[in-house]
Amino acid sequence: MKLKTALLGAAATLAFAPAAFAERGADGNVNVLYSQAVSIMNAYLSSGTKDVEVGSLVLEPLAGFDQDGTVIPRLVTEIPSVENGGISEDLTTITWKITPGLLWSDGTPVTAADAVFSYEYCTHPEGGCSQAARYEGIEKVEALDDLTVKITWTAPKPNPFTAFVGSTSPILQAAQFANCLGTAAPTCTEQNFRPIGTGPFMVTDFKVNDVVELAANPNYRDAAKPAFATMVVKGGGDAAGAARAVMETGEFDYAWNTQINPELQAQMEAGGQGKFVSAFGTLVERIEMNMTNPSADLPEGERSTAMHPHPMLSDIRVRKALSMAIDRSLLVEVGYGNAGRPTCNLVPAPAQYASPNTDCIAQDMEGAKALLEEAGWVAGANGMRAKDGVPMKLLYQTSVNAVRQDFQALIKGWWNELGVEVELKSIDGGVYFGGDPGSPDTFQKFYADVEMYANNFDGTDPEPYLAQYLCDKAPSPANGWQGENINRFCDPAYDALVAELASTREPEKRGEIAIRLNEMLTKDSYVVVPLVDRGRLSAHSNTLGGVVLNTWDSELWNASDWFRIK
């Protein structure tokens, strides 16, 4: 009897020990710094990463992505698959089962109707929803019962994890947003600033573009989480100031996107107050080659259109030579340090879709020179190349940004060594990325020979990203310069392969096709010249535990697991 009591007692202690250790709100306050301040908590009305990420502390999707890009359940019991019957055999429907007993932070139950409402909210034609692309190809979303949501696609959908998956398509509470559909969406200031959510935290105070104060959600599904009772997300300043507040003064526990030069990183890290963490996603800094002639001598409306091929760059040997002359490892060392790595791929991740190609990593100046000779571009007396009396001269544009200007200078040096004259141009980001059809300086209009910027894709499936390079997606006066095929690349074989990808269901096969497509754009044609695979770089103090950087979902994806190291 005594032994039994003792054993029971021991068992009870063991059972309660973790509970006593991890108790909701036990670790007080955590300070987070976003150098870009938060403007709104509703991801459907802002596409800014900062808004989506901080919003994800409150509003959650049905499922999210973990640090490896795997889909993980958030508000559902399990991830639907063809095996468990959640996805129909013909890939046209997906059925989600919401966890029973799940509550909103105001204590009301989460139902399938909330998911249906979220779909209606974002797809309303007058709402201007920023995340509408997440709901593309949906025929209908219906609530089969209180806890079952069924999505029907208009065509078989090999990757159904777009709607309600990831921080960009969260579930809104239907009751709270009922009057905010369509044109009323922006007028719902209170709802957009203080949404009721299912996440680990809820908003207690919101100051636009300044500070968001949050408190632990009393109805969060895990009774032991979050460990922090309150969270303050301050905004403003710059990346260096944010890094300093964590690494040097210790005022903040976590700083988002502390992209500073490698030298400063090392200097701050030496302080020993905190550490930088980095993770790699799909963001690639690249040089895009213009396949069409941007010459100012052409009439307006014909410049940089398929009517006139580029006099130099339409020759693959020239493009390849320009790529071979670049030392990508040096670029990384100068610009990004630990937060970058050289790459030859447009799609650097996930592993399933990433080509093993590393041909471009080693710089080959002699090979590049030989290639240009072969193409007929012969060096003149001053070392600069020309062909049929036409000098080899390139206009190289990018946005105003310290790292990009360093890159421009380095690459110009290498190209000059090749015998290519280079003129540099840097354009204010607001104009370059502004997409104004009236401006000659947008990256879409591409009134230059080569240009540099970074791009990535949302989620883990590169299909829409690779489909941007279809012939008919080239920006032109006809579509108001709005296409995504910046290079005006056009290859019928590529178009056919994209169509094949869209109809392929087997993951292995999809991976193979995606790798082929990526190679067709990079090592087979050098139309896109990838430079650096850019990671996320954030900083956290030594006393903040549980931080796992995630590039596939919100960076604050596991804030419920954060705790104070004592």
Binding site: A37, S39, I40, L45, S46, S47, G48, T49, P125, E126, G127, G128, C129, S130, A132, A133, T183, A185, P186, T189, N192, D205, K207, V208, N209, D210, V211, E213, V232, K234, G235, G236, G237, D238, G241, R244, A245, E248, T249, E251, F252, D428, G429, G430, V431, Y432, F433, G434, G435, D436, S439, Y453, N455, N456, F457, D458, P464, Q482, G483, E484
Partner: protein, 335 residues
Amino acid sequence: MLTFTIRRLLLAIPTLLFISLVIFLLVDFAPGSPMSQIPLTVPPEVRLRIIEAMGANEPIFVRYLLWLKQFFWVEPLVMIDGMFGTTYSEGMQRIVSWQSRSPVMDIIVERMPQTLTVVGSAYVIGVLIAVPIGIYSAYRQYSWFDQIGTFIAMIGFSVPTFFTGVVLILVFSVNLGWFPSIYNTSLRVTDWDSFVQQVRQMAMPVAVLALFNASQISRYMRSSMLDNLAQDYVRTARAKGMSERVVVLKHVLRNSLIPVVTVIALGIPTIFGGAIITEQVFKVNGLGALLINAIQGSDLPMVQTLTFIFAVLIVLFNLIADVLYGMLDPRIRYD
């Protein structure tokens, strides 16, 4: 004096309307688009719909007239409703920021306190330091005090605040750990401890700005004093046997203050404009930070409304300075 004031007030109306039009055109023609804030992962057709929902694709004159109506009709009604609990403005479209989709005026009101406390107290402190320094520097021209004063004023005047701000942070936050480098806008002063905290977080931004303001004003004060000290009436006062104290502080100071008061009054609108750089360095997030943020994000309604409010303040304080001038110097009458 009264007719002069009324005439000036009436004249201000067309001036302000003209200013508003110029600002609107300038802001609109400036390169940059709110689209640049949308990541490239968002497809073009979705971008187009976002822009449509913002109303950013309407013709310029439609947007200008709408803004005029919202600024001069809807917003005052909202203010009246707020004060008296009426519902005149119900269902009316207010000026809405493109970045946060919330009413611009609410954000401005929310930002006002921290700007007024930090930039305002820096201005007051700057004036309080500058006036005595200016007086003494002039009275003892070329003394060591004057030389040091001139030297510090030159530093304060020529070293940019983004440099002094970061130096202060490195010295007092990083190395000594005395003051926080980030301003906490949520701090409420309720007791002694929170008051001390408020003073600590204000110390560095106020020091940076006060140095700048004091340098400027002390130079004006000094030169104005010097002008007056050489006047005949000063010699007369001394000849009548008045003490130095009375000569300097009563006769000379009063006369010297006239131009300085004008300069101080004209500087007040800049308090509301916030201190763009200093606010950014210390993350005070006041009106200056609001403006620069809106400019970077091409948030046209916000930029337009803020700059116009600054224009109104400048016109207003110009008028106040003129009226003050007349009151301080009885020889100047505008009638």
